[in-house]
Symmetry: C2
Subunit: 468 residues, 2 copies
């Protein structure tokens, strides 16, 4: 958004200059003690008058953010300026800022409807199996209730994960698997392990919006390639890796978030060939694996865990309350990751891992997943049909999973619709929250399991009618 667009009056022009300086301090391009741009230079940069910049600088002095040294200029105050994640990266409309969307989903009351969130309603989760698992845990040996986990994590769960990987063609041994607190912590550890400040990371466009927030926290440069119904656009992929030499590519391959697309074997092959050529490490986030009806290709299976790191968790199908994720990778990388996990989380706990194991080894989980997949298929069909009636066209018909990526009627901006719906206590997920290039303003992600209440479509219908 240009300065001209925000600065409609003198007051907002001053605010825009103040905000630009604050942002530079937040993202550390101006550090404590460093000199601000001269009034004249910054007026030129911001395309405002010098008196606007003087006014803005004086207000920042009054706030103690900067200090003036007569005859010398303005300097960033020596005071503590902690990392402000929300101010790193481009300033986005709140409704499409990844952090804001996460907070809305996590914060809103149980009374809110959340077709924009990324999880199933509690009543869809295996609560009976969880209760049974907790009762079993209440009878477990003392150490399970009180001790830290071992560095790699609870061995029986790692054995079980290794067997499940085998079913998907990924040859992982239990010693090559490390448990993490969650899928997000797994990616975070991998970013710490592989990235240096300023390294470039490649993501899909669109992709899971929290990847953007996480990569901001690592101060990585982010680049993206368009996602197609069979995986990343391979020509764009070739161009981007050649030009930007990203250190990592973070993706979902089985069921892509937010589109529900599935990688084809041909694209998998070509992605891996380019990864070899440009020495790219791939993080394959397989968090939706258990939703699959028919197994899709995994990059980790094609590659044999050479340059692909495979991660997952149980938060989508078992419980997000009991945190437990995992990383499978080359053995020497797992060694380094264990050190990092101990240093930053001291090994983690046993309780969640024991609970997850109790539930997974119970025959009931497989049956639960069968029921769940059938239920999601029905919800997918019904949501698709109801969205079409409102003029919202699915980008593709997902084979499985909970997400439907829908295109709004021409000319509508999903951020406007999302803001409108929030007033009705309906949390939506506008497309640009998922899009680095901000090219998905006509799209919206719908979680079909959260779309079974008529009020979702009533609210959507009203918001669309108001703007067409």
């Amino acid at each position: 958004m240009g300065v001209a667009a925000i600065a409609e009056s003198g007051g907002t022009r001053v605010a825009a200059v103040m905000s630009a300086i604050r942002q530079r301090i937040a993202n550390r391009s101006l550090t404590p003690g460093s000199k601000l741009p001269s009034v004249r230079a910054f007026a030129a940069t911001m395309q405002v008058s010098t008196s606007t910049v003087v006014d803005a600088y004086e207000r920042l002095v009054a706030e103690g953010v900067i200090a003036s040294r007569p005859g010398s200029g303005f300097y960033v105050s020596g005071q503590v300026v902690p990392l402000a994640l929300a101010e790193i990266g481009p300033r986005l409309d709140r409704a499409v800022d990844p952090l804001w969307v996460s907070r809305q989903s996590l914060e809103s009351s149980d009374a809110a409807l959340k077709p924009g969130c990324g999880w199933l309603p509690p009543s869809w989760m295996p609560e009976a199996a969880l209760r049974k698992g907790l009762r079993a845990l209440a009878r477990a040996e003392d150490a399970a209730l009180t001790d830290y986990g071992t560095p790699l994590g609870f061995p029986p769960l790692r054995q079980l994960i290794a067997r499940r990987m085998m079913e998907r063609g990924i040859e992982a041994s239990p010693d090559g698997i490390m448990l993490a607190e969650s899928d997000t912590q797994a990616i975070d550890l991998l970013c710490r392990f592989f990235l240096e400040t300023g390294d470039t990371v490649l993501v899909d466009d669109p992709c899971y919006f929290n990847f953007h927030a996480l990569l901001r926290a690592h101060r990585a440069k982010i680049v993206s390639v368009p996602y197609t119904p069979t995986g990343p656009d391979i020509e764009a992929f070739a161009r981007v890796v050649a030009e930007h030499r990203p250190r990592l590519y973070i993706t979902n391959s089985a069921i892509h978030n937010p589109t529900g697309a599935v990688l084809s074997p041909v694209v998998a092959h070509r992605v891996l060939k380019l990864a070899d050529q440009f020495d790219l490490t791939i993080v394959e986030d397989d968090i939706f694996a258990d939703f699959e009806l028919t197994p899709a290709p995994r990059l980790a299976a094609f590659d044999g865990l050479s340059r692909v790191v495979h991660i997952g968790s149980f938060s989508k199908t078992l419980s997000a309350s009991a945190r437990c994720g995992f990383i499978t990778a080359r053995r020497e990388w797992i060694e380094g990751l264990v050190d990092l996990k101990i240093a930053t989380a001291f090994g983690g706990g046993r309780l969640s891992a024991e609970l997850v194991y109790n539930v997974l080894r119970d025959g009931g989980y497989r049956k639960h997943m069968e029921t769940l997949r059938a239920r999601l298929s029905r919800a997918m069909a019904e949501t698709g049909s109801r969205l079409r009636k409102l003029g919202i066209e699915p980008w593709l018909e997902p084979q499985s999973g909970m997400f439907l990526w829908g295109r709004l009627p021409a000319g509508l901006d999903a951020a406007d619709i999302a803001r409108e719906a929030l007033a009705d206590n309906v949390v939506l997920a506008p497309g640009n929250a998922f899009s680095l290039s901000q090219s998905a303003q006509e799209f919206m992600r719908f979680n079909v399991s959260q779309c079974l209440d008529d009020r979702v479509f009533q609210t959507l219908g009203r918001a669309i009618a108001k703007r067409t």
Copy 2:
């Protein structure tokens, strides 16, 4: 350790050169694509012959770590070189390397004796209350079992923590408290929030050894001040903050790990005055709070949470298996920390927080802690007396807690004793693992709750006898 000491033969000289290069690559002073020092220059640096360096470089070429460009020199290969935490910072004896000590404690079998570990035996923990709490959880509403936590974390637990803080003179409101997965994750989030690469952090010498590992993961410069029986040596503190201008000071104030010392009000006042003068932010880790017999001064209480951030967890007194820590700080900092927590851990889970709350609100926990404190006092007296018989003198008589910091008979090196004991399946914690300056080789930290088995003293006695 000088090169001369390791390089006793030609073979080990080559190995030392290889290791020095690998270390520079690991700590990123040599990045992929960068040129290695010339053979002649590096021979001078390492005080070896040029043919030794040529030999070492050739072996590294064979391993693919570096590549030779004829006529131009040697370059670090473009290949992936992930962060090797163990190789950042000085090369330490394995027995005093913080990561190695953590791994030994976490990995060793239940059959091992662990007077060096930092936690209570499972049988000392409130297992009946935990079992009761788990059964209550098995009857909880669905959302508690399946949903993500809210951004700040489970409100009733935050209210309870705020009340407990009040008892220690810290005025915190529930909205100024954020739950974290653990005490370690809390410090990790604070490091992300406050530090930039290369910032300096001040710790006590000795201090909890994992602070060193955690700060390495953040690539911070670490400086330290000696700890006295009443807090940090205030003259050294003044000198170090003036010279190094650290961004953070990380400390325990109530019961200091590893010494069991307690901050005096006078030292608290002076530390805070210096912190004001040099704009230092303090992280006060109060993880041992519940072990206190009489309340000691808290920096956060003196300071009113202005520049002190106060953290804690329940892993030492309730359960390390159910992960749950917390951060209390200025409201605007909590806002930024919530964003970071969502980005890097997606809010965390509810299960551990609900379980901790179930246990804490039960009257049984207070009673359990009374029993535990009495039991620790007895173990402290008994361990002290048995150590004295072996010639190990406590540095001070701790008022409370589980740690006793003991000085070995003159001339003994704690790392040697620790290595010796490990062969007997006894895990000890040698002093230098806690000491940045490596000046605590005569000291050892004893966890008195893990010292009730005769074999601990038999092993210690044998190891000491062998070396005197």
